[in-house]
């Protein structure tokens, strides 16, 4: 078995997309690791849908305050200039186009950029949380996820079979094997995990991947 990237490396690669001064929301699960992965020298303002803008890294055990948590229920640390607001104001911010980048987890992404990230077979009671609002309102949606399911099924598909979060919203997919751009006219493979080949990654992907002219190894 070849090595795949671990979750922290995926988060580090996704966080390289954060431009200086960007307002960024991190979704439930793996995306939360991006709070500890900001590229050196850049300022990023993290927004959390429970009503917080400008928080810092994830809190250590000694720093934990359960009245200062991100939307994944993880305690985070304060930064100068941070502010708090209620849920309605938070989603005005989200729907109104004031979030530059959202990083979300996914069960499936389609070649058109459709996102399915909240419901799966056998679990009819799970909910979408703020995912639909974020996918509809953020200027750019990045997905971080494992390239395949636990049983090896592709998650990057021609058409989503799981319930949709939003249509045509994903712009970039970062997995443990690849960085893939959603162009609106198919998927372009931009970067590939060290030691992996295009045919190998294509073999684990249901949708067709077009290699970029500048296809390269994922670097951090």
């Amino acid at each position: 078995m070849k090595d795949r990237l671990d979750e922290m490396t995926i988060a580090l690669r996704a966080a390289r997309e954060f431009t200086d001064g960007a307002v960024v929301n991190l979704g439930y699960g793996m995306p939360g690791l991006c709070a500890n992965a900001i590229p050196e020298g850049r300022t990023v303002f993290f927004q959390s849908e429970n009503g917080m803008l400008g928080y810092g890294s994830l809190a250590t055990d000694a720093e934990k305050d359960y009245e200062m948590i991100n939307a994944s229920d993880q305690p985070v640390t304060p930064l100068p200039g941070m502010c708090f607001f209620d849920s309605a104001a938070s989603f005005d911010m989200i729907r109104g186009g004031h979030i530059d980048i959202v990083v979300l987890g996914a069960y499936q992404v389609s070649e058109d950029g459709d996102l399915a990230n909240w419901g799966r077979p056998g679990r009819p009671a799970t909910g979408m949380g703020g995912g639909m609002d974020l996918a509809a309102g953020a200027k750019k949606t990045i997905v971080t996820m494992l390239h395949t399911t636990k049983t090896g099924e592709p998650r990057i598909v021609r058409k989503c079979t799981y319930p949709l979060t939003a249509r045509r919203c994903v712009r970039l997919i970062v997995t443990d094997l690849a960085v893939i751009e959603v162009t609106g006219e198919g998927l372009v493979l931009r970067e590939i995990a060290p030691g992996w080949t295009l045919p190998e990654v294509q073999g684990l992907t249901d949708a067709r991947l077009t290699p970029s002219e500048n296809l390269k190894e994922i670097e951090l």
């Binding site: 305050d65 009245e67 708090f84 849920s87 309605a88 729907r95 909910g127 703020g130 609002d133 979060t165």
Partner: protein, 237 residues
């Protein structure tokens, strides 16, 4: 307006909640902003057939031990007691947890109804109810199951769906401090859904860390004006 809003304890503050009531419960997830002492008082009180509007359905004590050593109570206690007929919220159950939260178990047994609402849409439906509006058009949920059966409208070339207001008989909320009139301030992310829900119920009951004298809260920092708050219980942290 009621002038004496201070209740001695949570049990007295929730004593008259009747069977069949619609109840908003503030907070976000399992910690930070959940009015847990009012929730457990309602569990003791035993009202049945409730409709509960809250962001998350809670995990219940058993699953909570996977999240935090020693475990904790959350909204799950109301489902465990079979008190709820219908849940309206954005995360009835967490996909990352085993499928045996009290709400998910009851749902799978056909014993409770669930209306799943995108989180921002939930907040805005409550704000509409609070503000006397008849609904709003939102792009959130277009092209998904959320849009099924809802009026659709194209405005300036963009698709929207109509969402309707939510109100409640009671709101159980958590704030940091209240003055004796009921003006409220919050602490950090424990604000979340609390100020929104406080405005949308006929009777709003606030669990607070501290009650201070009227005049002690800076009017510039009051988040919830006292007109929305009907009962106050101090539960020291």
């Amino acid at each position: 307006m009621v002038l004496n809003k201070i209740f001695r304890n949570c049990n007295e503050a929730v004593a008259d909640i009747p069977d069949g009531a619609t109840i908003m419960v503030g907070g976000f997830g399992s910690f930070g902003g959940l009015p847990i002492n009012l929730i457990t008082a309602l569990a003791d009180q035993g009202a049945k057939n409730l409709t509960v509007i809250a962001n998350m359905g809670g995990v219940g004590f058993e699953l909570s031990q996977r999240i935090k050593p020693g475990g904790y109570q959350d909204l799950g206690i109301l489902f465990e007691g079979g008190q709820v007929r219908k849940f309206i919220g954005s995360v009835p159950a967490l996909g990352g947890m085993p499928p045996n939260s009290p709400l998910e178990q009851l749902y799978n047994e056909g014993k409770v109804e669930i209306e799943t609402v995108p989180q921002g849409t939930l907040a805005e439906r409550i704000r509409c109810g609070a503000g006397g509006l008849g609904g709003f058009y939102t792009p959130v949920g277009v092209g998904t199951v959320v849009a099924e059966g809802k009026e659709k409208k194209v405005i300036d070339g963009k698709e929207y769906i109509l969402e309707l207001p939510l109100t409640a008989d009671f709101a159980l909320i958590k704030a940091h401090k209240a003055d004796k009139l009921g003006n409220l301030v919050y602490r950090k992310t424990a604000r979340c859904f609390n100020p929104v829900m406080a405005t949308a119920a006929r009777t709003t009951i606030a669990e607070v860390d501290e009650v201070v004298a009227t005049g002690e809260l800076d009017p510039e920092v009051v988040v919830t004006p006292h007109v929305y708050v009907h009962r106050i219980v101090e539960v020291r942290r």
